[in-house]
């Protein structure tokens, strides 16, 4: 397996996660900081199912269903709390998932991480398949988002609820649907990650990953979504892995990695804070 494929794969996972946050942000202006936790739950679900000998199709489908259901549950809970409080809820949920992954050793193998039995023969083929599936998922999401009237309707809800209501749209239904899509997309990212890496650890899809996805998802401009997502996901996600695997000594590498990733997130957050979130008046 080539290093380039690994970077592409990481970027594709990052794009999917970012897209999941972007969809929810554009529809309901909620900060989906649980995207990593959903990916983690689905990743563990597919890993456990695969190790138990469940056929890969069923394992993938059930893991995606779990992701979509988590999206629904979180969306329903979001209706009861303010946007700021939803962030706290997201943080709490992420931490809960991480702790469960650490302590449910019988299922997750705790801090040692869970190795996944090979599902399909030929590891390198699996990588290319994984990248291909992720690229197809990204293309489908973009199609849904920009070409379908459903995706446009979600954007209307996020921009102006009263406008959506005056169209005859039900904003709550749009928010729920976008959360389902977001959850399923996050689940797909987690599943692809597990099936290709064949290993998952409680810290793999933690809050830092969610934060990076959130920053990319929010900073991406709807009109230039494809380009923005690709560029930023490569910088943040692939760059993160590149630094992690760069052989310049453990401590230095770790320090550079953390500083660079942290700085990029801060810079993007500053840019985001200055931008008009609703994309209203020019």
């Amino acid at each position: 397996m080539s290093f380039a494929v690994l970077l592409f794969f990481t970027a594709a996972v990052g794009i999917l996660l970012s897209m999941g946050t972007h969809v929810v942000w554009q529809t309901s202006r909620r900060l989906m900081l649980v995207i990593g936790a959903i990916a983690s739950v689905s990743g563990y679900a597919v890993a456990i199912a695969a190790n138990a000998g469940v056929p890969v199709v069923w394992a993938v489908l059930s893991a995606m269903l779990i992701g979509a259901l988590l999206g629904v549950v979180l969306c329903l809970s979001a209706w009861r709390v303010a946007r700021e409080d939803f962030l706290l809820l997201a943080l709490a949920f992420s931490e809960l998932v991480r702790r469960l992954a650490f302590h449910l050793e019988c299922l997750t193998n705790g801090a040692y991480g869970l190795r996944v039995a090979p599902i399909l023969p030929g590891t390198s083929d699996m990588w290319f398949t994984g990248v291909g599936i992720l690229a197809a998922a990204v293309a489908l999401c973009l199609q849904l988002w920009f070409r379908s009237s459903r995706g446009l309707e979600w954007r209307i809800v996020g921009c102006s609820r009263s406008s959506a209501e005056l169209l005859g749209s039900v904003p709550a239904r749009s928010e729920l649907a976008s959360s389902v899509v977001s959850g399923a997309v996050a689940a797909l990212a987690g599943i692809a990650y597990v099936l290709c890496i064949r290993y998952i650890h409680p810290d793999d899809m933690g809050i830092d990953l969610s934060l990076a996805a959130l920053v990319v998802g929010l900073a991406a401009r709807p009109r230039w979504l494809t380009i923005d997502l690709c560029v930023m996901a490569f910088i943040l996600f692939a760059g993160r892995d590149f630094l992690r695997l760069w052989d310049i000594g453990g401590t230095v590498r770790f320090a550079i990695h953390e500083v660079v990733v942290g700085a990029i997130i801060i810079l993007m957050a500053i840019r985001l804070a200055r931008a008009d979130p609703g994309g209203s008046e020019p």
């Binding site: 921009c159 009263s162 406008s163 959506a164 209203s280």
Partner: protein, 226 residues
């Protein structure tokens, strides 16, 4: 009263309230098919709030208010819209992050068949694009945020008429648009009435000159607010 003459909107001793705050003196009116009803009155007298109450947008009130055979307390905006009620709001509510054609595309989903019958054109996008450009000089490929406030109002007015509403709630429809478009609005309102629809218009009175209402009710601010 026969079915066709049954009132589309009926208000009886209607008083709008925000919390414990009474907004207007009680008003009563009834809007029948083919009618143009005018709600007049000074600023802050609750005219727009009455329209919002009709839409089920969470405005509290006392008295009786029915819209399209439903108690206005129970209606949801999307439900009355789907039953044929349309609104020309006082201030444009269009989603500014979309381009015009994207908005029209979603609008078409909720108004199937509209914008097609006017011209024998299979590409409905082109119909809307052609009419909007010809009538108002609106380029449908630009973001809504680029349109002026007047153009956004015209776009909302155009789509409200194109939906062939059973009931049209028009909140000061001439405010903010150029004089040259007044005949278009007047013609649209006449079209709604001729197709057995009804129009309830909020106006300050002076701008209602292009047409004459079947009735006018003056909404007065409450003398005693509490």
């Amino acid at each position: 009263m026969s079915g066709s003459d049954a009132s589309l909107i009926e208000a009886d001793a209607l008083v709008v309230r925000y919390g414990g705050w009474q907004v207007n003196e009680p008003v009563s009116f009834s809007l029948h098919p083919g009618q143009l009803g005018l709600l007049t009155g000074p600023n802050g007298s609750g005219k727009t709030s009455i329209l919002r109450a009709l839409l089920g947008q969470g405005v509290g009130y006392e008295g009786n208010l029915r819209v399209l055979d439903s108690d206005a307390r129970r209606v949801k905006p999307w439900r009355v819209i789907r039953e044929g009620l349309r609104v020309i709001p006082q201030f444009p509510t269009l989603p500014v992050s979309l381009i015009v054609m994207e908005y029209v595309k979603v609008w078409r989903r909720y108004n199937p068949g509209c914008l097609v019958e006017r011209e024998r054109e299979t590409d409905r996008h082109r119909v809307a694009k052609g009419e909007l450009g010809r009538l108002f000089g609106i380029d449908t490929r630009v973001p809504i945020s680029v349109l002026s406030t007047g153009q956004r109002r015209l776009l909302e007015i155009f789509l409200a008429f194109a939906a062939k509403p059973r009931v049209l709630l028009a909140d000061e429809p001439l405010a903010g648009i150029a004089r040259e478009f007044i005949p278009y609005v007047a013609e649209g309102i006449r079209g709604v009435r001729e197709s057995s629809g009804a129009v309830l218009m909020v106006t300050h009175g002076s701008e209602a000159s292009p047409w004459r209402g079947d009735w006018a009710v003056e909404v007065m601010p409450a003398k005693c607010r509490a």
